[in-house]
Symmetry: C2
Subunit: 683 residues, 2 copies
């Protein structure tokens, strides 16, 4: 008889069962997401038969194949056999991990000895068993060249043979250093590995970055009333905006499509169907006789000026993100060269986009099923073209209208050769699709943040984003987009803009602003509409930046402060470390983020129209503090310092609707704080 | 370029993504549980890109390899892309299933046509598209020899070409029968299968059965005061109890171990360490010079009398379940023949069972790691021996003290050749282990029911058992065991016994009674103890059955009624169909079970000491009724009939703490109800 187990079948129980391992995406078919330096929780249920002690560790394999073992510990609530470790992966690339459960004879022995020795039961036998275990530990320490541990363990073993009182002998053996040495070198028996699960470690920008979006054609554009024509802005005329974004501390400059724009069924201002000859059309209606996705709109410049633009952005420590919108205007070269890439209607014509009764005749959607090889190859070619011009981030337009398996293939192909290239999914749709795109490879996604304005819904949504979906869906919190002028901004005045910027910049490690936000642009297309009036999608929109600066009608200083705080504080650069605290006032949101010693505590009102006061009750453990601790908090927005305990009182006004507080620990000065002297004021 | 997707890696996204398929146990490593005739929910998240319609079905493959397709439907809450089907598997054995998502061009067309035709948009084109789809459907119907559907679809296609008003043409095409024919024969494009997942369909007894446990040695045992010795009961002297169990409607007779009992460190009455010469010892201390697990205790009989006993049980339509306790007394033949099957201590002695400071010197636990091949083979040999003597159910003692992977192997081996053999896990331990044993192959497990007495905890626990764990953990609700005399029974009198029997027999399709329960035995070993005084585990315990019958101190009639109701009502024979209803009174539990037309509604007080009155508010949809319906309910316990609506009023007393109500539908008479005339009483 051969004793075989069903291990071939999938993820069965090993000798020591290890189940419910996380993060595991679709059974391990896709890698869990991590970024360099990010703290990642590894969890599993590990248990065994009978009374003997079980233990567990995680084995991490880096992209070079080197393994490293990190201990796991029982996780709360205790009693459910949950084990956990928090690990940090420092190298970009494809990692794997497995959880190993094991029989821990040393822990079993300690448990038994602590009961039996004081009770005088089996004293000699317990001593003999202990010596054998300590000898094994000493041997392992010697083999691992850990001479200090080897000596400790040999000494402990000798103590068991000494003529001390038996309780004293036990005390020597159970000393802190002996336990630590045995934790490292003690026997790990019946080692039972889980399957190997993939984690992909992206570069830091995948999780942490501040995005700024603008239309180059508006920067420096001018209208000639005599000829009734526009002169378009160009890459070259956009440098001032690049410099402004850099001054505000942004990391990524995101450009809407820069390709030739279709003329057939071109849209006029405010999405009308009757454009004038001077109307530039929507950049998302891609392609005309001058070229398609591989061409540059001649009004903006050429490849040389694009390369100069990319270099200019880089010179400020930023990078360019380009739009990738897989659709064609009826004038796109694909339409004549590759009609098989589109759907044909029974009358032989190419099907334009529809959502009956609406027709979008300026857009031909791609059919990914008619010539799969062809359109897949073309998509990859396009990405590689722009990658070769320095684009390492793509913001993908409406990925949820293209097959998920297409994205899974395309993004895997890119990652294989260029693991630093990042993709942001512009998918505003149902959860299953948004999650699938994340699992299929998108490093980031747009979110429902735009429509989460109340305290309860922010807490609920952020708990989901930083918990159950944190390993496959990374949020990018845009406060506005050319498509979305949130209702909240339409009615809440300057305070609403401040609140939303503070929330986006501190709740999420990646956030974004579409230019115009800082000028408080808030005129909608109509009552109850979420589109901008005179949307930049359909017309040139030069802005009076210097006038705004002079009049104070500009949020650029706040945006710069927020981005500076984000750079200063590692706690704001992670996704999973968010913790909400209690405030009885339903308009006051309190949360903290913590990374090691760095703790940022944010208190913000979500009501832009009224003053709010509230007691707040802090979960001190989440701040790394004891319940009775008193500590200083420094407001990074106002420069004030307060002395707080577990309970504090806050007052948030229309002028100052938020505190971004950093914890000042003894012996550590918070940045921006003039002195470590006791705080002059308390609130 | 070759377009490959990552399908090799596991469960990636297909062209139409199908995710979160259930029931799937450990990624498909172990089969989900089902029983012949049981209604099993199949669920998945199915979605797609863009606006076109998606659809889904489940493909069921029976043990012979034959496939059958059942439609799935969107599942509530809508909007989350959840799809579901309820399927019934009629053949015992190893099934598989997969969910297939597909592009549904007919549904897309219907959606578009219903908007476009009335609006006069693209009328001709829509007609052309519709004709092509109906033609394809008619062709498929013809190929499937469904002539009726083929004719319907050809007629509908012709209607689109008729000279009727276009709206009238559309009405013909969208008629019920055309839609039904297209649902069956319409094109299913981009078919995207999930992986194939296993389901094992057990015989009905795996999910539905009533168990009765007794010790043969007590049946007909007699004490001779002169010689101060006992004459043990035997298999042959147990027939009266077999007949009594049959009369009470039980299905399974469960016997504690029937093997020779060790003499070394034998336990005396009430678990004392000083037995007298006449004390029989615990049947779980298995093995002495007369043999081990493959022998029969000579006091009980021999293999011939055991075979007769099995036949006797069968003659009453019942079957025998035997205890399988993998441990040895120090006298067991294994100890001398196979010392390698036990753990050795440093002094060379065999390790007895311990949970320091407690020692169990009468028991040697098996070490499954020292001679894996040997002990695995022996375990299988023992099971096959008893199987060859007609035992097709084993109640496994303390499986959680043996390795999970041992059980996974052993149970798979048995199932391979004898798929009708069932195993009940006697594991009272933490959830991870109890669930793992179910996943590893145990058809049933003991539960926490014993300690769930309050309404809220019954609702919470049953929701878990009939929901999240229903496909890997099947509960067997014992009201008592030789090890457990629940506190509730110690203090609640006859009413407590009634309540617990009603709850166990109606909440769970499988329940069990250890004999003595029906005599209201409730004396504990001591204050606060859950063990029986004078436990039958350690001594003979003949009972005065006829005296109890005569005095009315016997619950046998209630047990018989409960089992009769269970046999009569398919709704009580399933696990997953439980639904709780609202009663404001925190001591009144209301639940229903439904299988097709059969609906049983149970109202029970959990307070054995007081009368309780309550309004109850029924979830009418769960009963298959409309909110305004009025209906008759027949109390199967008292014979009363009531006319009820969504709201009703109940009064539960110490004498009548429960209603077991069956719904009487128009034109259908409930069993036991004398007439279908309007009810004489209302409550």
């Amino acid at each position: 008889m051969t004793v075989t187990t069903s291990s071939a079948a999938g993820t069965p129980f090993g000798r020591i069962p290890v189940t419910k391992v996380s993060p595991v995406i679709e059974g391990g078919a896709y890698p869990a997401k991590a970024a360099v330096g990010e703290a990642i929780p590894i969890r599993a249920t590990v248990f065994r038969e009978g009374h003997d002690a079980v233990n567990a560790h995680v084995v991490l394999t880096d992209p070079s194949g080197a393994e490293r073992v990190e201990p796991m510990a029982p996780s709360t609530p205790l009693g459910f056999d949950w084990w956990a470790a928090e690990v940090t992966l420092e190298t970009e690339g494809a990692w794997t991990f497995r959880v190993e459960g094991w029989d821990d004879p040393w822990a079993t022995w300690v448990h038994n000895a602590e009961i039996k020795i004081p009770a005088g039961i089996d004293v000699a036998l317990v001593g003999t068993e202990g010596k054998a275990l300590l000898e094994a530990g000493a041997r392992a320490a010697t083999e691992a060249d850990d001479d200090e541990a080897a000596t400790q363990l040999q000494d402990a073993r000798a103590a068991l043979d000494s003529d001390q009182q038996v309780e004293d002998r036990l005390e020597v053996v159970l000393a802190e250093d002996v336990r630590a040495a045995m934790a490292t070198h003690g026997p790990r028996l019946l080692l039972s590995p889980s399957p190997e699960y993939p984690v992909f470690v992206d570069r830091r920008t995948a999780v942490f970055g501040s995005w700024y979006e603008f239309f180059p054609r508006s920067q420096g554009a001018s209208y000639d009333p005599e000829t009734q024509t526009w002169v378009s802005g160009t890459f070259d005329s956009s440098y001032e905006r690049v410099e402004a974004a850099a001054a505000m501390g942004f990391d990524v400059i995101y450009l809407p499509p820069i390709h030739p724009i279709g003329t057939a069924f071109r849209k006029g201002p405010n999405n009308t169907l009757t454009p004038g000859p001077a109307d530039p059309g929507s950049p998302w209606a891609i392609g005309n006789v001058e070229g398609g996705h591989d061409a540059i709109h001649p009004d903006l410049g050429d490849f040389d000026s694009f390369d100069r633009f990319v270099a200019k952005v880089k010179s400020h420590g930023m990078e360019v993100a380009l739009d990738f919108a897989l659709q064609a205007s009826p004038d796109h070269p694909w339409v004549s060269d590759h009609p098989e890439w589109f759907s044909a209607r029974p009358d032989g014509s190419i099907a334009y986009a529809e959502n009956p009764p609406k027709k979008y005749q300026d857009i031909f959607p791609i059919n990914f099923d008619r010539d799969k090889e062809g359109i897949y190859a073309e998509s990859l070619r396009l990405l590689k073209l722009w990658m070769s011009h320095g684009v390492r981030i793509f913001r993908v337009d409406n990925p949820h209208t293209k097959p998920v398996d297409f994205w899974a293939w395309l993004l895997a192909e890119v990652r294989r050769t260029d693991p630093d290239v990042l993709f942001l999914a512009e998918a505003f749709t149902k959860p299953a699709m948004m999650h699938a795109l994340g699992k299929a490879g998108f490093q980031q996604g747009y979110t429902y943040f735009t429509w989460r304005n109340e305290k309860w819904e922010l807490e609920e949504y952020l708990t989901e984003l930083t918990g159950e979906s944190d390993s496959f869906f990374r949020p990018n919190f845009f406060v506005n987009t050319p498509d979305i002028l949130p209702m909240y901004l339409q009615t809440g005045g300057r305070t609403a803009f401040t609140i939303r910027a503070v929330l986006a910049a501190t709740l999420a490690p990646t956030w974004g602003v579409y230019s115009g936000f800082e000028l408080f642009e808030n005129a909608p297309l109509g009552q109850g509409r979420e589109e901008y009036l005179d949307s930049e999608k359909f017309q040139y929109r030069p802005r009076d930046w210097s006038g705004a600066e002079a009049s104070g009608q500009n949020l650029n200083l706040l945006l710069g402060t927020l981005n500076a705080i984000r750079r200063e504080h590692p706690a704001l650069q992670q996704l999973r470390n968010l913790h909400f605290h209690h405030a009885p006032n339903a308009d006051v949101v309190v949360f903290s983020k913590r990374a090691g010693d760095d703790v940022v505590l944010v208190v913000v009102s979500v009501d832009p129209l009224n003053t709010h006061e509230s007691e707040i009750v802090l979960d001190m453990a989440a701040l790394g503090l004891g319940t009775a601790d008193v500590f200083l908090v420094h407001d990074e927005l106002t420069g004030q310092t307060f002395r707080w305990g577990q309970r504090a009182f806050v007052r948030l006004t229309v002028d100052d609707p938020a505190h971004i507080l950093t914890l000042v620990r003894p012996g550590r000065r918070s940045s921006g704080q003039p002195s470590a002297a006791p705080a002059p004021e308390e609130q």
